[in-house]
Amino acid sequence: MKIWILFFLLMCQVFLFGEDYDRAREEMVRYQLENRDIKNKVVLNTMKSVPRHEFVPDKEKRNAYDDRPLPIGYGQTISQPYIVAYMTQVIDPKPEYRILEIGTGSGYQAAVLAEIADSVFTIEIVKGLADRAQSALEENGYANVVIRHGDGYYGWESKAPFDAIVVTAAAEHIPPPLIKQLKPDGKMIIPVGSPFMIQNLMLVEKKGESVRTTSLFPVRFVPLTREPR
């Protein structure tokens, strides 16, 4: 009898926590995304459905839906939800898209892209992170994501060209092979900023042989002026 009571309590707990995460995710979308400038319905629905808490370390689960990046070990972070949504909105993935991601990290960004696009190829340079992301993606049923452990510098030539490339582990120069593997008129997005910093997003667009970049700093930073007294 005691075992049944314990089992019942445990199930209640699971149910209640599940409820909490669902509510937290709803609130995250409402307050952190809709209240800012995420207007793309597909992206909003995706952010509502991808369980972010499944991609963070256990001790960070309670903070999974906070409006900030979180440490995931190995000196890496899972980006702030808004940044993930914003990056997804910028590349505007279509159902037929083939997307390359450099820097799998937690696997959360790949999961968000995989909800929308046909296939996501993602490369992670840190073995521990690659293994953990692989497990999280498999456990959550993302069969259209292919992970590879290795150096993303050379891209994934056998799967190229790509409609979009998401670089989550920015280097101080954009690897020339990635520019080559981008389709004409393709988009590449790169967040620039050290862990926990406000990241400045940069869009790279291939126009023929020319390459253009646009800074998309999500927080419209203009010189602050004191209130006139």
Binding site: G193, T214, L224
Partner: protein, 787 residues
């Protein structure tokens, strides 16, 4: 002096030396596993030990002094025992904190406080032992104080020798043997079996910990950790040096190409990278090949070389030789490379042999701080080039408290004087968000010429880097056209060119989200820089040699405003370094007040004369540390090397203060004597505040040995006098109110705790001269506190 007294004095000297050495060893170890922010915390913890020791003495004076013959050596052994264990325990999983995570939640703050308390224990036991000795032997206070200071001075030098021999995490454990020796040497009249047993057990602990304590991992956010996680990464060179722990890491994934054009389509070659204390110092540069173009010809860094071929080039803070290699590829007649960290040059030579750019017969190396070199030479150059400033993607302000003398306005003015009539200064910085680095460089460059700076300035940028060029003569129309052609060919945007040569179509390749950066540039170069700087939420005015914190942009008064505007969670990581200092100040002040002041307030309430004691000893506690910190900073510039400066000043101050203290045995502890001494110190400090920098600059080119002599000549007299008021005050207190001796000791310790961190904050806010003037006023305040 009889044998017992000699043994007591030597024990005290050993203990004092171990404590100062432990403090410096902790600074070194923490700068490797975390960052440099904890230097002032270690000083505070050391002083906190003394303050808390004074409080315990006050509360349990009778009980302790009755058993002093056993307790003093036992405390020395306990100091050794805790010294062996404190640092290793602080690195265990449950206690270890990470600077980067400090502001992410309460758990990390708790770990930070736990770590502080653990590291504090050896200081507490040592401080209590010294305090007890001073209390029970107050008649010999001057001799004891002299041994205390002299021992500290020797300890400061000894630990520097250990830095080149042992890994940083082993040094604190090794040092534990010194207080153990002090405890065993101390004259024992009673319970010697207990003391020897405790000593034997401690020795066993030291050996066990030394051989079993694994090398602690640096913070997961440090460059070395990321590099070692790369495929096929291996550390191919490791060497402890007095300048830091040097490592070279190789991996096919380590590639570096700052400011590179997106038109460059070949793979970037991988290069080994040098790390100092876990922080990336740059990729190792090989001797440039004759047959291939240098990679940087496709970079914004090539801007000065597009205008003409400079014959004589000065590369400041040359580091791993990247810019030297680039300069060599342009075949100049001579290159002068300045680097203050000799260890880096030795590491490169050890790794590459003669295949380094530094081995070229065209390259003359000067091991010196860049600004120190500029002051000590009269040579002129066609091109002066600085390394890339800032960190790609931003550093979260982690280098905010590093002194960069070579980036001060005075340094740039000196560079300007060292240019040939047609010479150029070139400096590049990563673009940051919100913009800080480029704007501060601009406000600095603008001041170099009395004419319209627009005529002398050019700047080009790619997507993440901006390169400035400031030419001594106005840019000619041919040069302007050359810059435009170069930028167009590599898809760079022109940010600055003389008026009339730039329009909005210049920003076509790398668009920013809005034009605020360009408005800032226009405001700075226009007539309303002052009002713009005032309104801008970050400091962008030039750094000055009086407060050489180029990377400190945070305006404390605007924190709330920026947090409201950006994001409450994001701001701390925009300017983390200064906030860590403020957090440290709050934590150590709270601990100091709780451990020292609160018990003293509740002990013997209503003792009114102790307020005068408070004023006297707190003034001394604050001022002494202020003077020490400012002198170290001033001498960094003089020697061109922080290590020499710290050693010369700390050891000089301690040894001369010790001599002053010893001399005070011959002085009457009268009010008149204290007045004369304090007035003398104040006058000296005011002279140093106003005249030290010009004097040091005038003799900066003297040979090293002569510089050492000059530094002792400057530090000696004031340090000698500063050694007098404390023992003289204690002696006077012994005559007027002996019950207050330990109270005075505690107050002095508490204020010393606060002063070390406070001095760092004040140096940022009001500069070194201001801190020195405050120290002079504090010594004058001592005069008014008759007790």
């Amino acid at each position: 002096m009889n044998d017992t007294a000699s043994r007591r004095n030597i024990s005290l000297g050993l203990l004092s030396g171990a404590i100062i050495a432990y403090q410096i060893a902790l600074m070194n170890a923490f700068s490797l596993i975390q960052w440099d922010h904890f230097a002032s915390m270690m000083i505070s913890l050391a002083l906190l030990g003394f303050g808390a020791g004074g409080t315990v003495l006050t509360l349990f004076k009778t009980w302790l002094t009755d058993r002093q013959a056993v307790i003093i050596p036992l405390l020395m052994i306990l100091c050794a025992f805790s010294l062996a264990l404190a640092f290793p325990l602080s690195r265990t999983d449950g206690i270890r904190f990470d600077s980067y995570l400090l502001l992410t939640g309460g758990e990390q703050i708790l770990r930070f406080i736990l770590t502080a308390n653990l590291l504090f224990l050896p200081f507490f036991f040592g401080g209590l032992a010294i305090g007890m000795l001073f209390t029970v032997r107050v008649k010999s206070i001057s001799t004891l104080y002299a041994f205390n200071l002299a021992g500290s001075g020797v300890g400061g030098i000894l630990v520097l020798l250990l830095f080149s021999r042992f890994e940083p995490h082993h040094i604190p454990i090794l040092l534990a043997s010194i207080p153990l020796a002090a405890g065993l040497l101390y004259p024992k009249k009673r319970a010697w079996q207990l003391l020897y047993a405790a000593g034997g057990f401690t020795l066993l602990t030291i050996l066990l910990v030394f051989f079993s304590f694994p090398e602690p991992s640096p913070s997961q956010f440090k460059g070395i950790r990321s590099a070692l996680q790369l495929p096929e990464a291996q550390c191919v060179y490791e060497k402890p040096t007095p300048y830091g722990y040097l490592q070279i890491v190789k991996s096919p994934a380590l590639r570096y190409a700052p400011g590179l054009s997106l038109q460059y389509r070949d793979p970037i070659p991988s290069r080994p990278v040098l790390f100092s204390n876990g922080n990336q110092r740059g990729p190792l540069a090989e001797f440039p090949s004759e047959n291939t173009h240098h990679l940087y010809e496709w970079s914004t860094l090539n801007l000065p070389y597009t205008l003409r071929k400079p014959d004589k080039i000065l590369i400041l803070n040359a580091g791993t030789g990247d810019l030297v290699s680039h300069a060599l590829s342009h075949h100049p007649k001579q290159i002068i490379a300045c680097e203050s960290n000799e260890g880096i040059l030795l590491a490169i030579k050890g790794f590459y042999g003669e295949n380094t750019p530094f081995a070229s017969p065209l390259v003359n190396i000067h091991i010196s701080d860049a600004y120190t070199y500029l002051l000590s030479t009269r040579e002129t150059y066609d091109l002066i080039q600085l390394p890339v400033l800032g960190t790609f993607g931003g550093s979260s302000g982690l280098d905010a408290l590093e002194e960069h003398y070579s980036l001060t306005l005075e340094a740039f003015e000196t560079m300007w004087q060292r240019l040939e009539p047609d010479g150029m200064i070139s400096v590049s910085t990563w673009m940051d968000y919100p913009s800080r680095y480029p704007l501060r460089i601009l406000t600095t460059l603008k001041r170099l010429t009395g004419e319209d700076p627009f005529r002398h300035l050019a700047a080009i940028r790619n997507w993440n880097m901006i390169t400035f060029l400031m030419k001594k003569t106005p840019l000619s129309s041919r040069e302007i056209q050359t810059i435009k052609t170069f930028s167009d060919s590599l898809d760079f945007d022109v940010v600055l060119l003389p008026a009339g040569n730039r329009d909005s179509s210049s920003y076509t390749h790398h668009q920013l989200q809005n034009s605020s950066f360009f408005h800032a540039v226009e405001a700075i170069l226009g007539n309303n820089e002052d009002s713009f700087s005032e309104e801008y939420p970050f400091r962008i005015q030039p750094a000055r040699e009086n407060s050489p914190y180029f990377s400190q942009f945070l305006k404390p008064g605007r924190i709330h405003e920026i947090m409201d505007y950006l994001s409450r969670d994001a701001l701390p990581f925009l300017e983390l370094g200064y906030l860590i200092l403020i957090l440290t100040f709050i934590v150590v002040t709270l601990i100091a007040v709780i451990l020292i002041i609160v018990p003293l307030i509740f002990h013997q309430p209503g003792v009114f004369h102790s307020k005068r004691t408070l004023l006297y000893f707190s003034g001394l506690g604050l001022a002494f540390m202020f003077v020490e910190i400012v002198l170290i900073q001033r001498f960094i510039l003089f020697f061109g090397n922080p290590l020499y400066a710290a050693s010369a000043v700390i050891s000089g101050i301690l040894i001369f203060s010790g001599a002053g203290s010893y001399f005070s045995t011959r002085l009457e502890s009268s009010r008149q004597t204290i007045t004369y001494v304090s007035a003398g110190i104040s006058v000296f400090l005011l002279l140093l505040a106003l005249g030290l920098t010009p004097v040091l600059k005038a003799v900066i080119h003297y040979p090293f040995i002569l510089k050492i002599f000059i530094s002792l000549l400057i530090v000696g007299p004031v340090a000698f006098l500063m050694g007098i008021p404390f023992p003289l005050g204690l002696k006077r207190l012994n005559q007027t109110n002996p019950a207050d001796i330990s109270w005075a000791w505690g107050i002095n310790g508490c204020l010393s705790v606060i002063s070390s961190v406070l001095a760092a904050i004040l140096a940022v806010e009001i500069g070194f001269t201001g801190v020195m003037i405050i120290a002079a006023i504090l010594y004058l305040g001592v005069l008014s506190s008759e007790f």
